[in-house]
């Protein structure tokens, strides 16, 4: 496998279960034990004030809230993929998540587009989540 030259995420201990689940091709978010709200990105407190949470699976489906088509990438490794889509997606459970939309032409992406998470094992240690169109 060629060396992975894109940015590798810094993962503090609080966030590790999210990335560990991804390696097993599952998406788990924090769910508040007091109010039941899912939250993302990982954080130490629910907006309701409770620090108590569980990691709980989500369906991995949602719709595009907003997006951009990137032509000018941050580094040469990303530039190879340009033009590529970065979308903010409202997941069915409520939180928004950001990733690329793959599996379609960038010009086919629209706000409201139904998408689902797919997994991309970019290194043996790192699995990323991306979105693809859902019919």
């Amino acid at each position: 496998m060629a060396a992975y030259e894109k940015f590798v995420p810094e993962i503090p201990p609080l966030h590790e279960p999210f990335w560990a689940a991804l390696r097993q091709h599952r998406v788990e978010l924090q769910q508040c034990r007091r109010c039941g709200q899912f939250r993302f990105v990982p954080s130490e407190l629910c907006p309701c004030g409770s620090p108590e949470y569980s990691w709980a699976p989500i369906a991995g489906t949602g719709e595009v809230y907003t997006y951009t088509i990137v032509h000018r990438a941050p580094t040469p490794a990303y530039q190879q993929d340009a033009p590529y889509v970065i979308a903010h997606v409202t997941m069915d459970e409520g939180p928004r998540m950001i990733s690329n939309v793959v599996g379609c032409d960038p010009s086919d992406v629209f706000i409201g587009m139904p998408v689902e998470i797919v997994f991309d094992d970019v290194t043996p240690e790192l699995t990323l989540y991306r979105f693809r169109p859902r019919s």
Binding site: R39, R72, D81, I86
Partner: protein, 394 residues
Amino acid sequence: MPQFADAAFAGIAMTPQGDLSDRDPADVYWEVVQEALADAGLTLADVDGLIGDAPPGVGIRSALPGGAMADLVGHPLRFQASTSIGAAGQSAGIGLAALAIAHGLASVVVIPTVAAGGGSGYLGADRNAAVAHMARLGSPYEYVWGTTRVADYAVIARRHMYEYGTTEEQLAEIAVAQRYGATLNPLSVNGKRGEITIDDVMASRPIAEPLKLLDCCLVNQGAGCIVMTSATDAAAQGRHHPVLLLGWGEGQSYLDPCKAPSLASFEGGRLAADTAFGLAGVGRDEIDVAGISDHFTIGVIVELEAAGFCATGEGGSFVEGQATRIGGRLPVNTDGGFLSNSHAGSCGVFTVIELVRQLRHEAGPRQVEQASLAYAHGVGGVSQVQYGAVLGRA
């Protein structure tokens, strides 16, 4: 009771903007600080307060900026403070400087910014290094996907267009209006490139759709400095018509884009503007000229809305027909702004400098006639943290 208006903008200065990679950053820092002091009729011996950055150098200077300055001016300072409004951090410091002066904590406060020298990162002259550096400022849940600062604002633009019908041509109005101002500003980076049209903006290459090259700020170096004193001292110097800070406020809203309730409007801007206008006792319709953070054209539209110059969603139609050009309904960023004047360092300093020129009636060919009240609005990050300030001609 002490109030903001007890403090005045006594001195301003900026260097030529562009590529200063062959200059020592510390030399440029002292050059612009001394030039601003001279503009106020003062010298380094008079300085007893500092907002933000230390003179560039080694060791612990950056952690203890006031002490670093004391080393070099040869006397202790009475006041140092910093704000955390990103690229508007130094300019937002005008509020803290005014409070310090009004309460007798300091009498001469300098507010400098400098980007010079051969280093890389956002203060360097290397565009690729600056873009890569800025791309890493977000969380891992952003940068792993190949986000850039342009992409961060592009998603705001896209959502604003979706919710309110804002068009790419309306965004282009901002770039066109500000380039005109830059052509009248010999210190600007882009003025010599001449005027542009909406068609030019629309035809410029896409960077992160819907934002195109001419929707984006400059990447350049340069330096600027503001000096604040008491209004009484500024009037006694009599070098310029005094310009006062009438009101000021901050708003700090959601940092993580996934946690922001909306990516089409930001509560922080509303909080900042409401506080600033409230303290000043001034209405939006009284403002003659504005300086609004314009890292990207969409920023001006979103911030004009947040600051209350128009309703949320109406920023696009507000700027149509060159309404923000010199001579328009509300001239904005008359020096060219970050798009066409300068985006060096803590570039909000240049926004305030231009408003002070306007209120002194020293803006030359860019002068907004009879300007007596001005509004400054700055953002940090991707608009999450904002400040607003009302300035008045005494």
